[in-house]
């Protein structure tokens, strides 16, 4: 036979259960807009009934229920969606950082406007063409030198801008590595806290959310692999290297790579001479590719410009050397000869042509020493180099440049489309996550009313029980 106060106990348990449930709802509502928060639910279950079957059980009808209690507070999370989100975040950020670099390069080249390298090349050759029709004119000679200087200046400017861009990218790589290290340490800290709580039987919901959030942030920077351990900790791998093992963190470091234009290479901080870490996604992968790639990186465009400048220098010089200036002297270079490496950065007119007194008369417009000054045939031959279809490899100067620009356009276009597509996919995944983890205020409000009613009912029950006891006590007094 149960105690006369048993009913009071049962109602009290119900009161407590509803109270906890309302507190959890309050927590959910408070965090409705918190990044990375997963909604929490209370799991209420009936308590063990009275009495347990036993040989000595009292002689009463059973079993009698004993009320309800909160057995756990758990977060709503689908780890499969989390993984997909992380993978997509990695891709979006990789594509985004690449697309950004491409759009900067487009701004640098400033095509197809009317003032880019393309029109300066036209100008350069056209002035030689003009010179061929007026080889005696010092005005035209001055124009030839002016347009040539504009051309070399613009080559130098493009080279400088692209080099600056690649250095900016490299700075960003360094900054990103610092960000990665900070996140790794935070993840290690949270790991430690979580592994301390799990053995007590509680659910560290908010810490788990925080760790998921940190992992999400990390995947914006770099591609990661995460493996969950039995004790609640996660191990994190970057490019196959173990960087977080429970609370032990191995940081990344950058070192100047002498084999790669002194750009930053990513190493393990405790093994600076070892192999570079092969990162596989995230912003840092995009940055490194945009910097180094021999197919579409900034380096590629610098190299292509170098090739263009180098061939221009050599072809024009070779033709110029066969001609004669107004002083009937031949075998002079028009440009200063340079090596292929960084040719676009070092291209300049030769000192002889730049000479303020005699420079103009040294421009070799004539084909023979005796036919000076009325012979412009060598100037015409130089002008006709523009139509040489084998000037650079198997393309003319203009064609080579045009295909470089259209290639840049195609890459920029593809990359920004990729960002758009991946963004759309990511949005879908976020919606799927919300479906499971998101806080719906309507839902919380409805539940709040539900538990409030249950709470009210439990207090009513207590009151009635209370009345009963009063009655009993009054009768006995």
């Amino acid at each position: 036979m149960s105690s006369p106060f048993f009913g009071l106990d049962i109602a009290l348990r119900g009161l407590y259960a509803s109270q906890t449930a309302m507190n959890v709802i309050a927590h959910n509502v408070s965090n409705a807009n918190t990044d990375g928060y997963s909604r929490q639910v209370v799991n209420i279950s009936a308590t063990d009934p009275f009495t347990n079957p036993s040989f000595y059980k009292p002689l009463s009808t059973g079993q009698l229920g004993t009320g309800a209690e909160v057995i756990s507070i758990s977060r709503m999370r689908d780890s499969r969606i989390e993984l997909q989100i992380r993978n997509n975040v990695e891709l979006v950020n990789e594509y985004e950082s690449k697309a950004e670099v491409f759009s900067m390069m487009e701004a640098i080249f400033n095509e197809p406007g009317s003032v880019g390298l393309n029109s300066l090349i036209d100008d350069f050759f056209n002035q030689f063409n003009e010179l061929s029709s007026a080889p005696e004119s010092s005005v035209v000679r001055a124009q030839v030198r002016q347009s040539s200087e504009s051309l070399t200046d613009y080559f130098n400017k493009l080279y400088g801008d692209l080099t600056d861009l690649s250095e900016d990218i490299d700075d960003n790589v360094r900054i990103t590595v610092t960000g990665i290290n900070s996140l790794l340490n935070q993840i290690g800290d949270v790991n430690q806290l979580i592994t301390g709580i799990i053995p007590t039987g509680d659910d560290p919901n908010d810490l788990l959310d925080k760790r998921d959030y940190l992992l999400g942030q990390l995947s914006e920077y770099v591609g990661i692999d995460v493996s969950e351990q039995g004790d609640g900790a996660v191990n994190v791998y970057i490019g196959g290297r173990l960087v977080v093992q429970r609370d032990i963190v191995k940081e990344l470091a950058v070192v100047d790579d002498t084999a790669n234009y002194n750009y930053s290479a990513i190493k393990m901080a405790d093994d600076l001479d070892g192999e570079s870490v092969a990162v596989s996604g995230g912003e840092i992968k995009g940055l490194i590719d945009a910097r180094d790639s021999s197919e579409f990186g900034v380096r590629h465009y610098i190299n292509e410009l170098d090739t263009l400048a180098y061939n221009l220098i050599n072809k024009v010089n070779a033709q110029h050397r066969t001609g004669f200036g107004l002083d009937s002297v031949g075998n002079r270079n028009f440009f200063t000869p340079v090596s292929l490496q960084d040719a676009s950065g070092s291209i300049s007119l030769s000192a002889g042509i730049l000479d303020p007194v005699n420079g103009l008369s040294r421009i070799a417009a004539s084909s023979a020493a005796a036919s000076v000054p009325g012979d412009g045939s060598n100037a015409l031959l130089i002008a006709q180099l523009q139509n040489d279809v084998n000037a650079v490899g198997d393309a003319s100067f203009n064609e080579y440049y045009v295909s470089l620009i259209s290639q840049l356009g195609v890459y920029a276009d593809i990359e920004s489309n990729k960002v758009e597509n991946q963004d759309f996919l990511l949005n879908q995944l976020y919606s799927m996550r919300d479906e499971v983890s998101g806080v719906s205020l309507d839902e919380e409000a409805a539940k709040l009313i539900m538990y409030q009613n249950a709470y009210n009912a439990a207090t009513q029950v207590i009151q009635i029980m209370d009345d009963n006891y009063k009655l009993l006590i009054d009768m006995m007094s």
């Binding site: 409705a32 491409f102 759009s103 487009e106 701004a107 080249f109 095509e111 197809p112 009317s114 393309n118 029109s119 090349i121 036209d122 056209n126 063409n129 003009e130 061929s132 029709s133 007026a134 005696e136 004119s137 004539s366 005796a370 036919s371 000076v372 000054p373 009325g374 012979d375 412009g376 045939s377 015409l380 002008a383 523009q386 139509n387 203009n398 064609e399 440049y401 045009v402 620009i405 259209s406 840049l408 356009g409 195609v410 890459y411 920029a412 276009d413 920004s416 949005n427 976020y430 919606s431 919300d434 479906e435 998101g438 806080v439 719906s440 205020l441 309507d442 409000a445 409805a446 709040l448």
Partner: protein
């Protein structure tokens, strides 16, 4: 599907953002008039624009070359036509001088006139444009013809200082055009000379010198048998030179006209690829604006309420 406030907000914001982006892109196209501002806007069109620009620049240059050539050739033509006029006067003098009925003192009176005309011809043959001698081949910085004077300041010989150089300009890709006429072909017999042509045995100066001397000496038979045929041949040569230049001028003017037409075509081609289609852009903008407004309104209404508003 369980939809939360955040899902709604994020999706709405994304769509609003998309509409706004399209709107701003269209607005940019409208304001600048340019459809392809960077290669990635339309890589194919960007490539075409760059290619056509090169053609455009080339045509402009050929047009400038033609303009320069025209100045040169027009001057050449007027010089030759003046020389032609002088030679006609000389022809008449020679005819009169060759008439045995004309008294000797009248005949010798012609010598001064011939000498003066000879000086004029030399001066015309030394004509320069912009200090560049027209008839000197490539040696444009010197006077092509210099005179040697004898007793009494009379011209006894005229020497050619030029060469056989051809002044070629490009009037379209790979097509050269010779602009100049040689004063004398004595250095290169593959071309014709205007004043002295060794292929045709024409020498304007020598003939005039001889005529002057024959007139002075009263050598009527020389005038009739040698000078008059020489003068007639030289008149024919000058006429040929003049008409050749006229024909070349016509040809080069025609080339210029063709280039002008080509330039218009090329510029149109560039515009087609580069410039915005206003009608389309404007209608796109108003369409996007409607969508944008609708999205704003509906989102504004939706995110306002929740069940909490109804709890009392």
């Amino acid at each position: 599907m369980r939809v939360t406030g955040q899902t709604l907000l994020r999706n709405s914001l994304r769509h609003i953002q998309n509409h706004f982006q399209t709107l701003s892109r269209n607005q940019e196209m409208l304001a600048s008039g340019i459809r392809v501002a960077k290669p990635s806007d339309d890589p194919i069109a960007a490539q075409r624009i760059l290619r056509w620009r090169k053609v455009e620049d080339g045509i402009s240059q050929y047009q400038r070359n033609i303009d320069n050539a025209k100045i040169w050739m027009n001057t050449t033509e007027s010089v030759i036509s003046s020389v032609n006029g002088i030679v006609e006067t000389i022809h008449e003098l020679a005819l009169q001088g060759g008439n045995s009925l004309v008294p000797d003192e009248v005949r010798s009176g012609f010598t001064n006139e011939v000498e003066a005309l000879l000086k004029q011809v030399v001066s015309l043959a030394n004509t320069a444009v912009d200090n560049n001698s027209l008839f000197a081949g490539h040696i444009t910085d010197t006077k092509p013809f210099t005179v040697t004077t004898g007793a009494g300041g009379l011209i006894t010989a005229v020497t050619y200082n030029g060469d056989g150089g051809q002044r070629n300009i490009e009037i379209s890709e790979g097509n050269s055009f010779t602009v100049n006429s040689l004063g004398s072909n004595e250095n290169d017999l593959t071309y014709n000379g205007v004043f002295r042509d060794n292929n045709l045995n024409i020498d304007v100066f020598q003939t005039l010198i001889d005529l002057r001397d024959d007139l002075a000496a009263g050598n009527v038979s020389n005038i009739n048998d040698l000078r008059l045929p020489e003068i007639e041949e030289m008149m024919e040569n000058l006429a040929v030179a003049q008409s050749t230049i006229g024909l070349k001028l016509n040809a080069i003017t025609l080339s210029g006209d063709i280039l002008s037409k080509e330039l218009i075509d090329v510029q149109e081609e560039i515009a087609n690829n580069e410039q915005s289609d206003y009608a389309k852009v404007v209608s796109d903008i108003s369409y996007e604006q409607t969508l944008y407004q609708a999205a704003l309104t509906s989102t504004g209404n939706l995110i306002q309420g929740s069940l909490f508003d109804f709890l009392r």
